[in-house]
């Protein structure tokens, strides 16, 4: 299974914007983020093999795949934690080099990790501004930060967090996720990468977070959503990209997929039920 049928097409340096007709985005403008033939090797192990992926602005792109398919490696390459072995990353059509999380942040890429990078002992405002505190007379400007935090939460319609001065430790899982996302968004992010945002959440809290994802996309932010939960993916995604053993085996608008074809692609890397999406840019 090292040579999946579509890897030859990935090797050709074709401009990715023609594949699948690119739902909703005018063909003239380049997608916000474009990965071209990204490969990442750890010694002899190839974790990513010539991955091509587009993430357009204002859309939710779901990245799905089984454990070990390379999803995490791919988002770490985007977030600047790993540098790809080969391939290029285009941002608004221009080649960029992301060597560190700082580089990614400068571009406007914010990543919300599965293990929630929040400090339990700090309150909501302190967490949202961690590392980017507003200062006044060389001391923390608590009032400005508190007002801004409330504003961001209101903009995102996060109404469940009652007081922004409560410790994050006292929040529910859904509220914590909302705070983590709000923290990512308030830095004028253009792309928000969400790693399993609904894992370990209950039904109503999952709905909360999906609603929030929807709101983000509605504000013109590109969302890259990594999820195991196909219900969530079909509920919120505009586009789907499937990874299997380090290769991007399929991608396209969500309407090209249904639950069974997605499961086939995740588990075997191919699907008889959706042949049209199997051979991109043919």
């Amino acid at each position: 299974m090292t040579n999946t049928p579509e890897s030859p097409s990935s090797l050709t340096p074709s401009n990715g914007s023609t594949e699948h007709g690119v739902s909703g985005v005018s063909p003239s403008s380049a997608p916000l983020l474009q990965l071209r033939a990204i490969t990442k090797s750890f010694g002899a192990v190839q974790a990513l093999k010539h991955v091509d992926l587009e993430v357009p602005a204002g859309k939710v792109t779901a990245l799905i795949g089984d454990n070990g398919a390379g999803k995490s490696t791919l988002i770490k390459a985007i977030a600047g934690i790993y540098t790809p072995t080969s391939g290029e990353i285009l941002w608004n059509g221009n080649v960029v080099h992301i060597h560190s999380p700082h580089d990614a942040e400068q571009l406007g890429i914010a990543t919300v990790y599965q293990d929630l990078a929040l400090c339990d002992n700090l309150d909501v405002v302190e967490n949202m501004f961690l590392g980017h505190e507003d200062m006044r007379h060389r001391t923390l400007d608590e009032i400005k930060m508190e007002l801004a935090a409330k504003q961001v939460l209101a903009d995102l319609s996060v109404t469940t967090v009652k007081s922004v001065r409560q410790k994050v430790a006292s929040l529910s899982g859904g509220q914590r996720q909302s705070v983590a996302v709000a923290k990512a968004v308030m830095r004028e992010s253009k792309l928000v990468v969400l790693d399993e945002p609904t894992a370990a959440l209950g039904v109503s809290q999952t709905a909360q977070v999906l609603e929030l994802i929807h709101t983000l996309a509605g504000r013109g932010i590109a969302v890259l959503l990594i999820s195991h939960n196909l219900n969530d993916v079909f509920a919120v995604a505009d586009r789907i990209a499937v990874m299997h053993l380090g290769t991007l085996v399929s991608s396209g608008p969500v309407s090209d997929y249904d639950a069974s074809s997605a499961v086939d692609l995740i588990t075997t890397g191919e699907s008889a039920r959706s042949v049209s999406t199997m051979a991109p840019s043919s």
Binding site: C119, L130, G131, E146, L171
Partner: protein
């Protein structure tokens, strides 16, 4: 707390409800570990009542001032410890490092050197800060747990201390001959200066609290009810007035039918107050203070938020060294000298003071004022047991029980906060 959308004109009507909610939140906080000072204050009252009943001299002005002076060492060592406890690190060597700093000052102002006092004090604090930096560098660069690095430090710096004290050839003890260094603890400010000092402190603190509340109110943010603020300020003022009256009472002894005059606060007290104010400001109002909490709470989150974790860890080690240097100066001043045989419980009392006061051993939770409270409790036990002529063995056991109780509360509080999530 009621909704944050309460308009200002409703604030007054609801203020009584808010007082109740405030009290309720405080009670609920007990389980979460944000207990505030309530259980600790109860503990202090119980201890004081016990010792006063057993020996009516306990609450005399003379003994109380003596107790406060004894407490300064524990308080400052506790403060030194808190910088590292906040990160989830620990420094076992603060006791010897602080005495080493004090010894440097004694030696430099005395015997063959005769340095001016300010240069000697500056050098002593630089020495302890450098030692802190060394501990930090080893911990960070070699990735050795701070527990081990400072355990090695405890042994090594005791060795260095014995070496430099014995090298003076004065038989293992050096007396403080420099006047300023000696006067630090052993002379008092005049009653007038004592009044002025504490009045300025209370006025300053009240001003900060009130301006902060006013700024929040004018920005439309939730403010605690004015009543609560006033209760806090009045309580602070009353406690301070009692304190000043204690300091200014004549605690001189009757000697040959003539009562000597001994009144006013020892100069060590303002040193404590300055360290308390400075440390509290640093932790609550600056970026660096915020980052210490963040690193202690979730080091990975701090790193991902762009905090230079190693830089702030090193800074915490240096702050520990700096603060223990100040503690060492007061220590040698109080004893009037330094010997090569240092009470090995100093370091344990440092950790005990911080933890009894409410700082978590697990990192991320603590305040500088905890050292003040905890140091006071350690001093109360130490002083009270001395007054009752209770043996040292019982004293150790008593402090051990209090320490264990404090850590158990801390641990339970942690579990409580995990359950509530």
């Amino acid at each position: 707390m009621s909704s944050s959308e309460v308009p200002n004109d409703l604030q007054f009507k609801t203020s009584r409800d808010q007082v109740f909610t405030q009290v309720w939140t405080q009670l609920k906080g007990l389980r979460r570990g944000d207990s505030g000072m309530v259980p600790i204050v109860i503990g202090i009252v119980v201890l004081v009542a016990y010792f006063q009943i057993r020996n009516s001299l306990f609450l005399s002005a003379g003994n109380l001032v003596n107790l406060f002076v004894q407490a300064t060492t524990y308080v400052l060592l506790g403060m030194a410890e808190i910088w590292l406890l906040l990160l989830g690190d620990i420094d076992l060597s603060v006791g010897y490092v602080s005495v080493l700093g004090g010894a440097s000052a004694v030696i430099l102002t005395d015997t063959q050197f005769h340095w001016p006092w300010f240069l000697a004090i500056l050098t002593a604090v630089l020495v302890t800060t450098a030692i802190g930096a060394l501990h930090g560098a080893i911990t960070i660069l070699l990735r050795v747990p701070s527990f081990i690095v400072t355990l090695a430090g405890l042994l090594a710096w005791e060795g260095v201390l014995i070496y430099i004290v014995d090298a003076q050839g004065t038989g293992g003890t050096i007396a403080v001959h420099e006047k300023v260094l000696y006067d630090l603890v052993n002379t008092n400010a005049s009653p007038l200066v004592t009044w002025i000092f504490f009045a300025v402190c209370v006025a300053g603190a009240s001003f900060l609290i009130l301006t902060r509340d006013r700024a929040r109110r004018s920005s439309g943010l939730l403010v605690q009810p004015f009543v609560i603020t006033m209760i806090k300020i009045v309580t602070m003022a009353v406690v301070t007035i009692v304190l000043v009256l204690v300091f200014n009472a004549n605690r001189g002894v009757v000697f040959g039918g003539h009562r000597t005059t001994l009144e006013g606060m020892p100069w060590a007290i303002p040193v404590d107050v300055f360290m308390l104010a400075g440390g509290t400001f640093f932790l609550s109002r600056t970026k660096a203070g915020r980052y210490l909490y963040a690193i202690g709470g979730n080091v990975e989150a701090a790193r991902r938020a762009g905090v230079n974790v190693n830089r702030y860890r090193l800074m915490a080690f240096m702050l520990t060294g700096f603060t223990s240097g100040i503690a060492g100066l007061l220590y040698v001043s109080r004893l009037g000298g330094v010997s090569d045989n240092v009470d090995s419980t100093l370091v344990l009392y440092a950790v005990a003071a911080a933890v009894i006061g409410g700082t978590s051993l697990f990192g991320g939770r603590g305040k500088i004022i905890h050292a003040l409270i905890g140091g006071l409790i350690v001093a109360i036990i130490y002083n009270g047991m001395g007054l009752l002529s209770i043996t040292a063995s019982a004293e150790y056991i008593a402090i051990a029980v209090v320490l264990l109780a404090a850590v158990a509360v801390d641990s339970l509080a942690r579990r409580g906060s995990e359950v509530t999530r």
